[in-house]
C-alpha cells in the first residue's frame, strides 16, 4: 500500500530520476527551483508523462512504461494543490469545493461541502468568488477542493509561496493540522527549508533531478550526505576537508584542524557547520576553538549574519569567510568584545561527508 514512484524523464539539461515509497505520512520534496520537484508531482498526477518507470498508488498501477499503462488524470485519484491554487474564478467557494465531488445526490454533496467549509474555517464565505478571498483563504479552498474529491494521495506544490511572510507561519500550522486528519500519502514540494522542516515527517532532497538524500526530516538535516544535500538543508559553512587521523580533519577553506566525535573515513571530502550553531568559546575550552576577526555584517530584522576571517594555524590560500548567524541580543553582547574573538565549533555539530 502507499505510493510507489520510480520514474525517469529527460528534461532540459538533465535527467529526472527519482524513486521513493511513501505511506500515510507527509513526505517533503526539497529542492531549488528547476530541480524537478514540480515535474515529479505532475508525473504522479498524470499531467505529464515520465519517459520510463512505474507509479503505483495503493496497489493500482497509474503508470507503467513497460506494460504501456498511463491512466488519465481523472482516474488516478490524486489530489493536487497548485502553486497559484488554480481556483475556478467564475465559481463560488462552495461551487469550487463541490466541483470534484462524485456523489450523485444533492444532499450528500451539500453535506460534504459543509464539512469541508467547516474544516477550513470559511463559514459564511461560501458564496464568495475566489477574487474576493485573501491568499490564505484561497489556499484553504484549493486544499478543501482537492480533499472533497476523496483522493488517495495528495500533492502540494509550493502551497505557501504565494503568501506573505506574516500569513505563512500561521498557514503552515493550519495546514499541518488539516493534513493530520488525512490518511493518504501526502507529498509536499517546496524550496523553503523552514516550511519543509515544520510540515514534513520525512524528506527527500532533490538537486538537478537526482535524489541527494532521503529519510526522516531530522536525520536528513542532521547528517546530509553530499555537498548538494548540505547546501539544500541550508548549511552556510562548507569546506573541503582532509583526513588527518580517525578523529581529526583539516578544513582547507579556513585552514584549521577540527576534532570530530565520530570516526572519520579516509575518503572524507567535506566538512560543514551550520551558521547558527557556532558559539563563543568559554575560557577553559581548547578543542575546535577558532580565532576570528570581523570582516563584514549583514543585518536582518531578527537574525544577523556576521562574516568572519579565520586566523589560521598556518597559511593557506583561498581562505573563506565563516558565516555566523545570531540574534540581535547576541550581537549586542559580542560587538564590543576585543578581537580576535574565540569561537567554538562543537564536534557534535560538524557535518561530515
Amino acid at each position: 500500500m502507499g505510493l510507489i514512484v520510480d520514474i525517469r524523464k529527460e528534461l532540459a539539461g538533465f535527467e529526472l530520476k527519482v524513486n521513493f515509497e511513501t505511506q500515510g505520512e507527509v513526505l517533503g520534496l526539497l529542492g531549488a527551483s528547476g530541480s524537478g520537484k514540480s515535474i515529479t508531482l505532475r508525473c504522479i498526477a498524470g499531467i505529464e508523462s515520465p519517459d520510463q518507470g512505474r507509479i503505483v498508488l495503493n496497489g493500482r498501477v497509474l503508470f507503467d512504461s513497460q506494460k504501456g499503462i498511463n491512466l488519465p488524470c481523472q482516474r488516478r485519484k490524486v489530489g493536487y494543490v497548485f502553486q497559484n491554487y488554480a481556483l475556478f474564478p467564475h465559481l463560488t467557494v462552495e461551487e469550487n469545493i463541490g466541483f470534484g465531488i462524485g456523489e450523485r445526490k444533492r444532499e450528500d454533496r451539500q453535506a460534504i461541502i459543509k464539512e469541508m467549509v467547516t474544516m477550513i474555517k470559511l463559514e459564511g464565505l461560501e458564496k464568495r468568488y475566489p477574487s474576493q478571498l485573501s491568499g490564505g483563504q484561497q489556499q484553504r479552498v484549493a486544499l478543501a477542493r482537492a480533499l472533497a474529491a476523496k483522493p488517495e494521495a495528495l500533492l502540494l506544490d509550493e502551497p505557501f509561496s504565494a503568501l506573505d511572510d506574516y500569513l505563512r507561519n500561521h498557514m503552515v500550522k493550519q495546514l499541518t493540522e488539516t493534513l493530520a486528519g488525512y490518511s493518504g500519502a501526502t507529498l509536499f514540494v517546496s524550496h523553503n527549508i523552514e516550511e519543509v522542516y515544520r510540515v514534513c515527517q520525512r524528506l527527500i532532497l532533490l538537486a538537478r533531478g537526482k535524489i541527494e538524500g532521503k529519510g526522516g526530516t531530522e536525520e536528513v538535516f542532521k547528517a546530509p550526505s553530499s555537498l548538494a544535500a548540505a547546501q539544500l538543508t541550508g548549511c552556510k559553512n562548507i569546506s573541503p576537508a582532509n583526513y588527518i587521523s580517525p578523529f581529526k580533519l583539516e578544513a582547507l577553506a579556513w585552514g584549521i584542524t577540527l576534532k570530530t566525535n565520530i570516526q572519520l573515513s579516509r575518503q572524507v571530502t567535506h566538512v560543514g557547520v551550520r551558521a547558527h550553531l557556532i558559539g563563543a568559546a568559554a575560557g577553559e575550552m581548547k578543542d575546535n576553538v577558532v580565532r576570528c576577526r570581523l570582516n563584514s555584517l549583514s543585518e536582518g530584522p531578527s537574525r544577523i549574519s556576521v562574516y568572519l576571517a579565520v586566523e589560521q594555524d598556518h597559511w593557506r590560500q583561498g581562505s573563506q569567510l565563516l558565516e555566523w548567524e545570531m540574534t540581535p541580543q547576541m550581537w549586542r553582547a559580542m560587538k564590543d568584545q576585543p578581537q580576535p574573538w574565540s569561537l567554538r565549533i562543537a564536534p557534535e555539530d560538524l557535518i561530515i561527508f
Binding site: Y80, A86, P89, H90, G100
Partner: protein, 233 residues
C-alpha cells in the same frame, strides 16, 4: 412618403434572417468543436488544419461559392449523394444557409480558439485531477471562461452570415421568395434603378445589424458581470 412600402415583397428579410440565424447556430457548434480540437491538437499538421479552416475568410466569396458549387452541384461528390436521396440543395433555400455558414465559420472558429488558448491551463489540469470528465470541464470551465470570446465570435458570425452576398449568389442564385437575400435584393434593386427600394433594404439591414450587435454587447456584459467577473477583478 413610404407609401410604396405596401407594394414591396418582404420575403428577402425573412430569407436573410433565416439564413443568418441558422448559419449562426451551425457555426456556433462547428466553431466550438473545431476550436477545441485545434487548440488541443499538438501534431505537426496544426498549421495546415488551421489554414484550411480559416480559408473561407480570406478567399473571395465568389471563390467560396464556386467551390461549394463544385462540391454540391449535380456532378459534385456531395451533390450526387444528395441527388440520390432526392434532394437538390443548389438554388434552393438551404443553399443560403450553407453559403452563410461557410463564410461565417472562420470568424467563430478563430475568435473562440484564441479565447480558449488564453485560459490558464492549470485550471484545466486542476479540474482533471478532481476526476471530472472532459465533457463537463468543457461546458463548466472552458466555455464560461472563454465566454467573452464565444460571444464575440457568435456576433461576428451572425453579422458575416447576414451580410453575405457573393457565395450566396453563386450557389443560391436570386430566386425571389426562395433565395433572394437582402444584400442581393439591394444589388438588384440598385442595378435596376430602384434606388428607393435599395435604400429601404439598406436601412433595414443597418437597423438589424445594430440591434443584434447592441443586444449581444449588453448580454455579454451582463454574463461577464454575473458569471465570470466574480473572479476576475
Amino acid at each position: 412618403m413610404f407609401s410604396f412600402i405596401h407594394g414591396i415583397d418582404f420575403s428577402p428579410l425573412w430569407i436573410s434572417l433565416r439564413a443568418a440565424t441558422l448559419a449562426t447556430l451551425v457555426t456556433f457548434f462547428f466553431g466550438l468543436a473545431a476550436a477545441s480540437f485545434v487548440s488541443a491538437y499538438r501534431g505537426k499538421f496544426k498549421g495546415v488544419i488551421d489554414g484550411l479552416l480559416t480559408l473561407p475568410l480570406v478567399l473571395p466569396p465568389t471563390v467560396v461559392g464556386f467551390l461549394l458549387l463544385l462540391i454540391l452541384g449535380r456532378n459534385g461528390p456531395l451533390g450526387k449523394l444528395l441527388l440520390a436521396l432526392g434532394m437538390t440543395v443548389i438554388f434552393s433555400w438551404p443553399a443560403t444557409v450553407i453559403a452563410a455558414s461557410v463564410v461565417a465559420f472562420p470568424l467563430m472558429y478563430r475568435t473562440v480558439r484564441s479565447a480558449f488558448e488564453q485560459i490558464d491551463p492549470t485550471l484545466i489540469y486542476a479540474a482533471r485531477t478532481l476526476g471530472v470528465s472532459e465533457w463537463k470541464i468543457f461546458w463548466k470551465i472552458t466555455i464560461p471562461l472563454a465566454w467573452p470570446g464565444v460571444a464575440a465570435g457568435t456576433v461576428l458570425a451572425f453579422a458575416r452570415a447576414l451580410g453575405d452576398f457573393g457565395a450566396t449568389l453563386m450557389i443560391g442564385g436570386n430566386i425571389p421568395g426562395e433565395t433572394l437575400t437582402i444584400p442581393a435584393a439591394i444589388f438588384f434593386a440598385a442595378e435596376g434603378g430602384d434606388m428607393e427600394k435599395a435604400l429601404l433594404w439598406v436601412i433595414l439591414i443597418f437597423i438589424i445589424s445594430l440591434i443584434v450587435m447592441t443586444l449581444m454587447n449588453y448580454w455579454s456584459d451582463y454574463q461577464r458581470k454575473t458569471i465570470i467577473a466574480g473572479g476576475r477583478e
